[in-house]
């Protein structure tokens, strides 16, 4: 009380807690009866993902069922978190292919550079987020696993068509 208290004269409408209480009760009742709820019942209903959502990776395959990857080494080079492990190999026709292609999804920051830099459009980040595992080792996706993924892939942003129309 030692400091001066500034007392404002306000109309009763603002200081009455009876009216405030009643209007508050009316508001909550309105929301109670409002059938429009915001809950999405997750395992049953899912929110639509953005076409540019960047989730766990997918390796696309060609008509023969082999990975499109030519082991050029661009993605491990561009990867800022250094999570792609690539050992290139070469077959008898001189075609390069990945002997080992592993992505550590724990290290990955889902920047999408690997998809952007890939000349063969082989590696993609996917529109997918349900990727829990029981062990840390489970998060290192090898080539078979990357090829076995079926979820849709991220559509990169096109500067010529910024709104995706």
């Amino acid at each position: 009380m030692a400091i001066g208290i500034k007392v404002l004269e306000r109309p009763i409408k603002q200081t009455s807690y009876v009216r405030a209480t009643l209007s508050g009760m009316a508001l909550t009742l309105k929301h109670l009866l409002d059938p429009d709820k915001v809950t999405i019942q997750y395992p049953d209903q899912k929110w639509p993902l953005s076409p540019r959502w960047r989730g766990t990776h997918r390796m696309l395959t060609n008509e023969e069922g082999k990975a499109k990857c030519v082991a050029c080494g661009l993605c491990p080079t561009v990867c800022p978190s250094n999570c792609i492990k690539l050992v290139p190999g070469e077959d008898e026709n001189g075609n390069r292919y990945p002997l080992v292609f592993e992505i550590d999804e724990f290290r990955c920051i889902f920047c999408g550079y690997c998809q952007e830099v890939c000349p063969e459009e082989a590696i993609h980040v996917g529109r997918h987020y349900e990727n829990s595992e029981y062990s840390r080792e489970g998060f290192v996706y090898d080539l078979e696993r990357l090829m076995a993924q079926t979820h849709p892939v991220c559509e990169m942003w096109d500067p010529a068509d910024p709104k995706g129309e």
């Binding site: 030692a2 200081t15 807690y17 009760m25 109670l32 809950t39």
Partner: protein, 437 residues
Amino acid sequence: MTVLALLQAATTGDGLVHASQPESGGVWFLATVIKMLLTFTIYMIGVMLVIWAERRICGFIQDRLGPNRVGPAGLLQSVADGVKNIMKEETYPGQAYLPLFVLAPVMAFIPALLTWSVIPYGAPWQSKWGLIDTALAPMPIGFLFILSIASLGVYGIVLAGWSSNNKYSLLGGLRSSAQMISYEISMGMSTIPVLILAGNVSLSRIVEQQGGWGIHWNVVNVTIAFVVFMIAAFAETNRVPFDLPEAESELVAGYHAEYSAMKFSMFFIAEYANIMTASALMATLFFGGWDIPFTMWDNIAPHTFAKTLATFAFFWVKILFFVFVFIWVRWTLPRFRYDQLMALGWKFMLPVALGYVVVVAGATLILESAGIHPASWQFALIMLAINVVLVAVMFGIVDRGRLISPAYSRLDKRDLRKLRRLDAARMRPITSEGGAD
């Protein structure tokens, strides 16, 4: 003095005659055992469902859905929570005083349960073995029993707060005791008008007196007493806006901060049990108990089993309505500041309750001397008229925003002058003998 007089009224009044309808010993024993089982079962299932209802209604109010996955519409959510709580580890703080620490949840829970033994659930049943009262223990002093048991409920909370050896718990317990003491007085006072009209403290008699078309319900006869009782009931059950003993934002979890697993669950159950008890009391004292309004069918002689069931169902409709109001208020209003709580209890509720006792006693006296008996419809109409005026006046005064003083409200002119004088006194120059304050 008052209590003594009431006691005498209870033991000599006609309530006693009603309450002790003779059955043979065996039938009485059997009926009581069945009633005990029924009461306990219904009560515990009720608590479970009220917890579920609270969470669902809270969800709806916040535009969510609430728990709806366990069982149909989530009805079994409380069962799942109970199982989880039983499986959990019980933790004991190293410095806690264990005997009371263990005893406190029980002491919080039992009084809420005990109250139900005297509440009549329905019209008495005239079976071929004799008249069976629906209250578990139709005591002639039922109401006094409730008052005394209700004040025991605070011990669980205070002891929990003290024995935890935790400063937040202790603060919660202290607040709780202060709050209970403040509001119990107005709660007791607000029920005096009911007792004046009933002329008895037996709950069966109080319900009987309200029976009929619904115009004799005490909410019509003594409206302000009902308003005061309801506010006090909110305070007694530690519900928002009076949940200072818990006050998550200030006291972690208040008195049960140190409790885990089933012991916490006991406090949780006790809270909802208290809500049901308070709702049942409001229904019994002010909304005619098991009386079905707009019909005389349930009040007249052949007390068949169908009537008992119908009145029982109606009693539960009333209880559930009040439970809903409790939940609705909880998810609407913010918490009181501590000084507002005390100001509301002592400066507003107590004087109003006391003044209303005088008003009702005076009105009853005058009307009775004018030949209008409390059981007549003229009496109810006149009381209704008086109450409409009084409620209007009371809310008019409360609406002026001076009684609880929100932080931004206008101060009384007198208070303002006093504050300024105080200010001026402090600002005088410090003399040689005056130190800094």
